[in-house]
Symmetry: C2
Subunit: 152 residues, 2 copies
């Protein structure tokens, strides 16, 4: 059994999905998708844009925003909004899952997926008490990653 798609497999799936819906695969768009699925640190729009500029120097921020909006329409990207601090994106695992957010260095990583089932059970239990029908959920843990914890 395969535990997780490779970034390139994921990229192919996204490209196929867009193509199937009649969207064009422009070089900029492909580059944005590639950056999104290869970056494990849940990039924000600004850092995606920087990456794309290296390859396509005229790419605008608006194009990055529009491409992400397109992926959101198809439920293919998970948006982690942080108010005034902007949003970070997970293009690898679009289903809800917990995130570990380092308040010092800003890194965001996924915990091991082994606890996912337990989280879903807890979510359903919390909701069930009051007849709430859950559509989605979000669990964020804020703190210090192991690297930051051991550094002055």
């Amino acid at each position: 059994m395969q535990l997780m798609e490779t970034p390139d497999q994921r990229l192919s799936a996204l490209l196929a999905r867009l193509r199937a819906h009649g969207h064009r695969l422009t070089p900029q768009r492909v580059a944005i998708l590639r950056a999104l699925v290869h970056d494990a640190n849940h990039p924000n729009v600004e850092s995606l844009h920087q990456r794309i500029l290296a390859e396509f120097p005229t790419t605008s921020l608006a194009t990055v925003y529009k491409t992400i909006a397109l992926l959101k329409e198809y439920g293919e990207v998970l948006e982690l909004g942080f108010g005034e601090l902007g949003s970070r994106y997970d293009g690898r695992r679009p289903a809800p899952h917990p995130h570990l957010i380092c308040t010092r260095c800003g890194a965001i990583r996924d915990p091991d997926p082994s606890g996912d089932a337990e989280l879903v059970a807890l979510v359903e239990r919390l909701a069930g008490q009051t007849g709430f029908a859950v559509q989605s959920h979000r669990l964020d843990l804020f703190g210090l990653c192991s690297a930051c914890r051991t550094t002055s």
Copy 2:
């Protein structure tokens, strides 16, 4: 054993805390705190402002923001940021706890606190796997409240 402070007890505690730190208790400020602890639906700044205007018609939005910022400094209000949709505030239970957010009517309510211990345990387990030191957390459930679920 008392399960939860009454809103008025909570208000007194907040006023005492601010007074102890040398802050002035202006009528507007007291009104904002009162609105905050009496509103169980996690109000946003705009709705707090509307409430205050009824009593003090010249109150500005900036004053509401500043008062909330003050409470945040002392960890006496829980801010639930929702990106472009603005923030909602919980002045009754400033410690992290789950929220049930209705995507139809916008209501936000707390589930029964009985599951809190289990959530904390799960949080610590998810973090422990990778040596992450949790400072805080946030669990939001999005869906339909029981009223909205049974209405066309």
